[in-house]
């Protein structure tokens, strides 16, 4: 019979999520107001405010470790840490979108509401400990992103990116859903812990073809979102076509959320089937590292290059999950944070240069900025070196711990793959660095003189205009991250350790 009382709702634990969704609603409604200043200033400010509130609440809840909403979500340090990463990424995206074309074309209210809802979906995803809430979070994350990809409505490549992302993403969702359904069919449970128990029981469904098919399909479905090869193919197209701030958000926050749910799904629900999935994930990680790094070579668009690089980076981080140890999760959490700031710095520079030069995201737009724009050249340099894993940056420490984690978990060969992959990656990361410092600025780049003489119309979709102080601020601020955490990784280590401590059943 139906229970007489509803589930207990722990509003405190739910508060970060409430802040995000509530913020989304408010932003949507405020965006309806007429005055331009409201739409262009107040709306992003409100979005930032709700993100700040959510971040504050997440930090306030830091020590929580409880199930909420009848076991649908779990609020623990892992979830909160990853939620915090997502919120930071979203806040940076808001800053990058401040003067971007996309929100103007898609209407500010909708754009920022979509962003907040997507962030809320990510938050749900990393907290999910139930197949149903997993899928809800997955869709809540994806659907707004499909729209955001296409939000630069007057640019056909943006629409194409949105469409491609929608179709391939839907296939991914369908695959995941099918996989989840089969797992439910095999174990009879939707709750992660109950699934783990069912797998652990004698004569359990571990070698049941039904379960294994479900496992395979869910691996594939999740692999889509993290863009693990060979399910990565939407990534370069969608990243390149989408408005750059949205690309930045997809490249960082989505990865955080998807890796978060992979950690929880595989290392909690399916931990007893680890011998089954670990080799498969390791193989996928290897393919991903190879394909990502190899694909990035020879790219002429920085966004495309970063897309391929993000594929490779996903492969590195998958290695930390394969081993199924706390150490591995710690490494993943650390690397995700480092990866987030490094990518954000790079994308901020791309945004700035695309606005300043009108050359879009081509590498030529970066040429010669070492002399003319040190405030952009340095962040990009640091981001590239950090992503390549040069010592002294947080990227190096993160990579070191991923390799260490892989070696500790008896996947030494995966560590070697990471090293080889990083060596190859230097080719394209250094190409960007070389373009900035060693080439003269191309003649054709129109130089801005304060925008005084021939100020282009405000809503011109392309063409040179000032990058905006907030973009430079993001670039410099995010680039400080890898350096600071490269020298003083202590605080980040604490966060990573706390996050991994939530998985206390692992070694």
């Amino acid at each position: 019979m139906i229970a007489a009382t509803g589930p207990h709702i722990d509003v405190e634990a739910l508060s970060p999520l409430l802040a995000l969704t509530g913020g989304g609603l408010v932003v949507l409604l405020v965006g309806l107001l007429r005055p331009r200043v409201v739409r262009e200033v107040l709306v992003p400010l409100l979005a930032l405010a709700s993100l700040a509130a959510a971040l504050g609440l997440a930090i306030w809840q830091w020590d929580a470790d409880e199930e909420i909403i009848a076991g649908a979500l779990r609020v623990d340090t892992l979830a909160l840490a990853f939620t915090a990463f997502v919120i930071v990424a979203a806040a940076i995206t808001v800053l990058l979108s401040w003067r971007a074309v996309a929100p103007r074309e898609a209407a500010h209210g909708e754009y920022y509401a979509m962003l907040l809802v997507s962030a809320a979906g990510m938050s749900v995803l990393v907290q999910a400990q139930n197949l149903v809430s997993l899928f809800i979070g997955f869709e809540l994350l994806s659907v707004p992103l499909y729209v955001l990809c296409a939000s630069e409505m007057r640019r056909s490549s943006s629409l194409e990116a949105g469409l491609k992302y929608l179709i391939i993403g839907s296939v991914g969702s369908a695959t995941l859903l099918y996989g989840l359904a089969l797992i439910y069919g095999a174990t009879g449970r939707t709750d992660f812990a109950a699934i783990a128990d069912a797998l652990n029981s004698v004569g359990g469904p571990v070698s049941d073809p039904l379960f294994l098919t479900g496992l395979a399909l869910s691996v594939v479905g999740l692999a889509f979102k993290v863009s693990v090869a060979p399910f990565h193919q939407w990534t370069p197209d969608a990243y390149e076509g989408a408005p750059t701030p949205v690309t930045a958000f997809m490249a960082t926050a989505t990865k955080v959320a998807a890796l978060g749910v992979i950690i929880r799904f595989f290392d909690v629900a399916l931990i007893n089937a680890q011998p089954d999935w670990a080799p498969a994930l390791a193989a996928l990680a290897t393919i991903t590292i190879v394909v990502g790094n190899v694909g990035a070579i020879g790219q002429t668009s920085v966004k495309r290059l970063l897309a391929w690089s993000s594929v490779a980076q996903a492969g590195y981080m998958l290695a930390g999950i394969v081993v199924g140890t706390q150490h591995g999760i710690e490494a993943v959490a650390f690397y995700l944070a480092a990866y987030l700031v490094m990518n954000m710095a790079a994308f901020a520079v791309v945004v700035a240069r695309a606005r300043e030069t009108g050359l879009g995201d081509a590498i030529e737009a970066l040429e010669g900025i070492g002399q003319s724009k040190p405030l952009l050249a340095w962040p990009m340099t640091i981001a590239m070196l950090g992503l390549a894993g040069i010592p002294g940056t947080a990227g190096f420490i993160g990579k070191f711990f991923l390799i260490d984690g892989a070696v500790d978990g008896d996947y030494a060969w995966l560590g070697i793959v990471i090293v080889v992959g990083s060596a190859v990656s230097l080719v394209y990361y250094l190409k960007v660095v070389a373009a900035m410092w060693m080439r003269p600025a191309p003649r054709s780049v129109p130089v801005l003189a304060g925008g005084a003489v021939d100020d282009p119309p405000a809503d011109a979709p392309a063409g040179p205009r000032a990058a905006g102080g907030e973009v430079t601020l993001v670039a410099v601020g995010c680039a400080a991250g890898p350096v600071v955490f490269g020298v003083l990784p202590g605080p980040l280590f604490d966060i990573a350790r706390d996050a991994a401590a939530a998985m206390s059943h692992l070694f």
Binding site: P209, L217, V220, I297, D404, G490, R497
Partner: protein
């Protein structure tokens, strides 16, 4: 007390920053004085640390302090920790003390150089790095300091950056030092794998418990030795040191004689608990030290560049120290490090003064008769030379003798090393006084005459002493002015102090009389297998001392015969012993061997790959296996990335099928 220790680090760093930030603004010699004061302050703090340490109970003289945890997680404890114990304090005192004097010397010596401020910024940075290395209480700061001193050395060797020979020497030194850095880093990794900690005291605590000569640890310690050898210019990583003489002479004095190059000795002494459980590695150190000390002494015999003679002598003397600490004579090794710092810095300063009198010329063939023109330089260099030759009662006599006496106590094949040491000691006396007789004895050269008449020779045309190329005196080349100690008070103070120390420092550790160094270092080496047990018997000690003194005096006598009394004899000797002379004069062909073994094959392979392989094999298809695969893969991946949804869907189905197949098949 640790505050004082941190201050020891802070002053040179502050000096670097202050001089560096204002390097355009500092008027005159201001930058030099700032640098000198910074190091002096550091020296005073070192004394404070020393006094504080001595106040402590014997068993509590190992103090650590951590500035921050760089990374303290999952089995890696990389912390910025300093370890203050007698060993590091001894190093600290010598490094800061000698550095102060050399800074003082440089204030005059570098006047007129257009890079004056830059010079002192570098020099302060070097002292800072060296102190980081010395004070490190964890492998991570050790590696950082290790790399930093390498960088500082590179900057200072290439200080006259428009000289092609100088920049090339800098690159050579840097490359070899980086090889050493990598060795040290990998060695530290082995230690981490073995003991699960990077902290010195933590490692030392566990070390005695491990099995002797475990394969991993021996490999790790040999890798660490590679680092030590590269930094201390031991064979076969020694070739950079002679070329490093391209740097300004005070730099040679500070970095390439007194401090940096002895880092390897310090490292072995520091890690003694590890070397005592890996005797195989320790023996490698002792043997390499012995070989180096002998080979370098023979090379020094025939060099004509005054700085290179002293450079090879440095190699040789460090060989003694490495042999000593490798064999377990830790206190003797550190004692020799100290006395060597005094007399070798002094010799370099004297050489600098002579070079000043020669207006930049370093070739001894063109020198002579400076005895009367430069009495002060002559006297101080004589003191340095006597100490180097091991003549009692100068300091070098006691320290060198102690190394040999203690090493001999190990018995067995260690006697071979000791004999090599005594032979080299004889050679040392010969080459040292060859240098002194050739520079100060005989008929005065024109430059010496000019100086006697009260006029310092100035070159009309400035040339590079190595390859004779004509230079100007703008920034990037040495300045137009030259200085001799006789006329520059700061130089005189520095050299005088060092001469005094080189004379009396031996009194710290006179066998059977004083044991200052021994007892001071005792807390560091508590529990060592060799530290006390190696002490030679009384009769042995006195026989050793007598032999040492006789050998030193004998060498001087031979040198006097050859280069002062019968000046022509050497030419006959050279023709008679042509192969030996050629071997020595060409530095045992080490550069050529390395060139033939490593550089040439690499270059040949590169040429082959570039010209033959690339042109013939495909002209564009293969540029090397790896890059081919990467390129082909890249093309394949991009081909698959057609942008067409249907092809994506196809690959997707394939992927799903593959993954599903894997799961179903492996069940």
């Amino acid at each position: 007390m640790t505050t004082a220790a941190w201050l020891v680090l802070a002053f040179p760093l502050a000096g670097t920053v202050i001089i560096g930030l204002g390097h355009r603004a500092w008027p005159g010699r201001m930058a030099g004085w700032i640098g000198t004061l910074a190091i002096l302050a550091s020296f005073i703090c070192s004394i404070v640390v020393f006094v504080n340490l001595q106040d402590r109970d014997e068993h509590h003289r190992q103090v650590t302090s951590t500035l921050f945890d760089y990374a303290d997680t999952v089995g890696v404890d990389a912390k910025l920790t300093i370890l203050v114990d007698p060993l590091s304090v001894l190093m600290m005192l010598v490094v800061t003390g000698v550095s102060t004097l050399i800074h003082l010397y440089s204030v005059t010596y570098m006047t007129g150089d257009r890079g004056f401020s830059r010079y002192f910024a570098y020099l302060n940075f070097f002292v800072f790095s060296m102190l980081v290395l010395v004070l490190a209480g964890n492998f991570v700061p050790l590696i950082i300091g290790w790399a930093f001193v390498g960088a500082a050395s590179y900057l200072l060797i290439s200080f006259w950056y428009r000289r092609r020979t100088a920049t090339r020497a800098g690159v050579k030194a840097f490359v070899i030092n980086v090889v050493g850095d990598i060795g040290l880093m990998f060695g530290a990794y082995f230690v981490l794998r073995e003991f699960a900690t990077l902290d010195f005291l933590g490692v030392f605590e566990q070390a005695p418990g491990t099995a002797v000569n475990t394969g991993n640890l021996v490999a790790g310690m040999i890798l660490i030795l590679v680092g030590a050898f590269a930094k201390s210019a031991q064979m076969p990583f020694h070739t950079w040191l002679a070329d490093a003489m391209e740097g300004p002479t005070p730099v040679s004095s500070l970095i390439h004689a007194a401090t940096m190059v002895t880092a390897g000795v310090y490292l072995i002494a520091r890690l003694w608990p590890l070397f005592e459980v890996t005797p195989a590695a320790a023996n490698v150190a002792a043997i390499v030290g012995a070989v180096t000390l002998f080979v370098a002494a023979t090379i020094a015999l025939t060099q004509t560049d005054i700085k290179r003679v002293i450079a090879y002598s440095t190699m040789s003397q460090i060989g003694y120290m490495i042999m000593g600490v490798g064999a377990g004579a830790y206190a003797a090794g550190m004692f020799h490090f100290m006395t060597h710092a005094f007399f070798k810095a002094l010799l370099f300063m004297g050489a600098g003064s002579v070079i000043g009198a020669m207006a930049g010329i370093q070739d001894m063939d063109r020198m002579g008769g400076f005895r009367r023109a430069m009495p002060f330089t002559f006297a101080t260099m004589l003191v340095g030379g006597l100490a180097l030759s091991g003549v009692p009662p100068f300091s070098g006599f006691f320290s060198k003798d102690e190394i040999l006496a203690w090493t001999a106590q190990r018995g067995g094949w260690f006697w071979i090393l000791v004999v090599a040491g005594y032979v080299a000691a004889f050679l040392t006396a010969v080459y040292t006084f060859r240098m002194i007789f050739r520079v100060f004895g005989g008929e005065p050269v024109p430059e010496a005459r000019e100086l006697e008449q009260g006029h310092l020779h100035h070159a009309e045309v400035h040339v590079n002493p190595t390859d004779g190329e004509v230079e100007d005196t703008d920034v990037g080349f040495p300045g137009p002015e030259h200085f001799v100690a006789e006329r520059a008070f700061p130089m005189k103070v520095a050299m005088g102090t060092l001469a005094l120390l080189a004379t009396v420092a031996g009194a710290l550790q006179i066998p059977e009389v004083t044991h200052a160094i021994d007892s001071f270092l005792h807390p560091t080496f508590e529990g060592s297998r060799y530290y006390e047990s190696l002490a030679p018997s009384e009769s042995f000690t006195f026989i050793g001392m007598a032999v040492g003194a006789a050998i030193g005096l004998g060498g001087i006598f031979v040198a006097w015969q050859l280069w002062s009394r019968h000046r022509g004899v050497t030419a006959q000797l050279i023709t008679r012993l042509k192969p030996l002379y050629a071997l020595s004069h060409n530095k045992w062909y080490f550069d050529e061997i390395i060139d033939a073994l490593f550089v040439r094959p690499a270059a040949w392979f590169g040429r082959f790959a570039q010209q033959t392989f690339e042109r013939l094999v495909v002209n564009g298809a293969i540029v090397g296996g790896a890059s081919l695969i990467v390129r082909a893969g890249s093309a394949a991946v991009r081909a698959a990335q057609s942008g067409l949804l249907r092809s994506y869907a196809a690959l997707l189905v394939l992927g799903v099928g593959g993954v599903a197949l894997y799961f179903l098949l492996q069940s």
